[in-house]
Symmetry: C2
């Protein structure tokens, strides 16, 4: 019997309800294949602030460090969004968690699902067949540099990257490209930024070790255009933290399936799996949240445990739900299913 | 007789040919209204590097400082793009020009032209009616902060903003919103960056002076999504240098009319007007470049001279060309007109 402990950070808004369905699917997989998954629920985000005054309690961090993997829902509450200068904010918990666990690579597949093309804001001939994988650096750059105010009232944020921070994620991206369509696009602003020039240098040094991978370089402004103009051109996209935040969100909406996209954050300690969507507090408790992104995140988690067949089965079950339109209202307005119904349908299939 | 001197930086690639047509239109306006426009051609960009080893010769800068306005084509050559670590690059000239002239506000209208909807990558019901105006800060932030390498081989770029740098462009944006649909969206990353928090503070302080303008705040990752999901929601968008670079390029392709979009950069000294597209060296000399973005930049230049009627006439003439499909191949593949023909058609109409 394979035993794995999964820390669950359900978080805020729709987080708990989408996590519930993903856990249901993981439990079904456990039963079917004879694995013993245990789930350790912990607070993070706005709910943790309410409960203990801090978005990432020590206890939560310890549970994450001890776990074999982390399943996250979503965090955030508009109460804090409207005041980003507030001393205590849910995002701080997420950023500290990333840093403490050394989660330097955020990996996001963006796929244009055939049945969802009609929901894409892009014309279908543009988006059809698009299938890309983002590697966003997650623990460096301007997010984690020195920041503050000067005596004259001005503000500053410092962006720094070391060769090591770049090369470790670059290797992951190259390895992934080897198993895909053998193309890697580095997105930077090397015509302006020194950190971007270092990214290019390091990637150029590493490239010869992966002779089957074709490397392309794109300035970030051009990348923002190319993602819309011709998304099919991309296979693996590698970029730094801030650019990755912007571009991976941009890419996720062109596929018309924000509620379907999972992500993995991997690095030094326990890996974390979460849907890319937010906590949508307006939808919380209504049974309308799409659990598929979280369920597909659970599939990535299974793959991380080297449970390939199990992960594949979850993906098949999701495809089955898509094919049969067992979908929440945003993708099936005529005959919508609830969050719970979509989760149960997928769990039954596995 | 109104006398105005216009410095022309035709630049590289298709720059010279699109400038030629814009000048033709300005000369036609001059004749019709009795204004004396003189044009002072100067080198900047790759052509200036070839000629003198530097992308912005002193002589060019002086001519710009003396002129009443600057008309620019485009700069850049793939020779330099492929090596962003080269010591001398065309972009340095542009960045130095912006800084030397104090061009702190880059103003970019993005309009979804009815006749071009079919060329938009977005579904027409999404993009139809979209009409937004970007105010991108252009002489501050991470573009112009300290940058370099540390002893350990790491690289850094510093982002700084002062209250004054923010408030001067914010006032321009608010004033512009007052004359439009009374909505201003500040795009930032205030949940992570200290400079973004300062942007919010300053904009919040200024807002009460413009009581008719509704202010919204959007995180940059969300903005990258909203531009595609619902571009009609935007009126005036205000943002810092790096975010503006990415988002205004993203916005420009959703309208399906990259070759039609003008921009103005205004500030302390002489204002500069240029199309938003690049130098497209592949198209140079073939007569296929669309001159309309540069011609509409000339219209913004006329408006800057307070020549409202003249600017309006140029815009009407452009609309006339659009209505009659007097357009270059990318917008009229069946019966295309040349760069020169499009320019002459518009010049004849004014
Ligand atoms: C909440 C925020 C700090 C975070 C980020 O910018 O990294 C989010 O946008 C994300 O992409 O996970
Ligand atoms: C050429 C480059 C330095 C420039 C910028 O990033 O500002 C360009 O992309 C622009 O938007 O005008």
């Amino acid at each position: 019997v394979l035993k794995k402990q999964i820390a669950v950070l359900a978080g805020d808004g729709i987080g708990p309800e989408v996590c519930r369905e993903a856990i249901k699917v993981l439990e079904a997989i456990g039963e079917r294949f004879g694995h013993a998954f245990t789930f350790n629920h912990q607070l993070m985000g706005a709910c943790a602030i309410e409960a203990s005054g801090t978005p990432l309690p020590e206890h939560t961090l310890e549970a994450c460090l001890e776990a074999d993997a982390i399943l996250m829902g979503a965090i955030g509450d508009p109460k804090y969004d409207n005041d980003p200068t507030a001393k205590v904010r849910p995002e701080q918990g997420l950023l500290r968690l990333r840093k403490s666990l050394g989660l330097f690579a955020n990996i996001r597949p963006v796929t244009a699902y055939q049945v969802l093309l009609q929901h894409s804001p892009l014309k279908n001939d543009r988006i059809e067949g698009a299938d890309m994988l983002f590697f966003r650096e997650l623990t460096g750059g301007i997010y984690f540099g020195e920041k503050g105010r000067n005596a004259d009232g001005s503000a500053y944020d410092h962006c720094t990257y070391s060769r090591e921070e770049i090369s470790r994620i670059a290797h992951l991206a190259f390895q992934s490209a080897e198993g895909r369509r053998h193309k890697l696009t580095l997105v930077d602003k090397a015509n302006v930024l020194e950190t971007s020039r270092l990214w290019r240098e390091v990637v150029k040094e590493i490239a010869p070790a992966y002779p089957s991978v074709v490397v392309e370089y794109l300035f970030v402004d051009n990348a923002a255009m190319q993602l819309i103009l011709n998304p099919r051109q991309f296979d693996v996209i590698l970029t730094e933290n801030m650019f990755g935040d912007i571009l991976s969100d941009e890419a996720s909406v062109i596929a018309g399936s924000l509620g379907l996209l999972p992500s993995a954050s991997v690095g030094v300690h326990t890996a974390l799996f979460e849907p890319i969507h937010g906590s949508y507090p307006q939808a919380a408790g209504k049974g309308i949240a799409n659990p598929i992104a979280t369920i597909l995140s659970a599939a990535m988690l299974l793959e991380h445990f080297a449970l390939k067949q199990e992960a594949e089965l979850v993906r098949e079950a999701v495809q089955h739900a898509l094919d049969n339109k067992i979908l929440t209202p945003e993708l099936n307005s005529k005959a919508p299913y609830t969050t719970e119904q979509v989760g149960s349908f997928i769990a039954c299939y596995v």
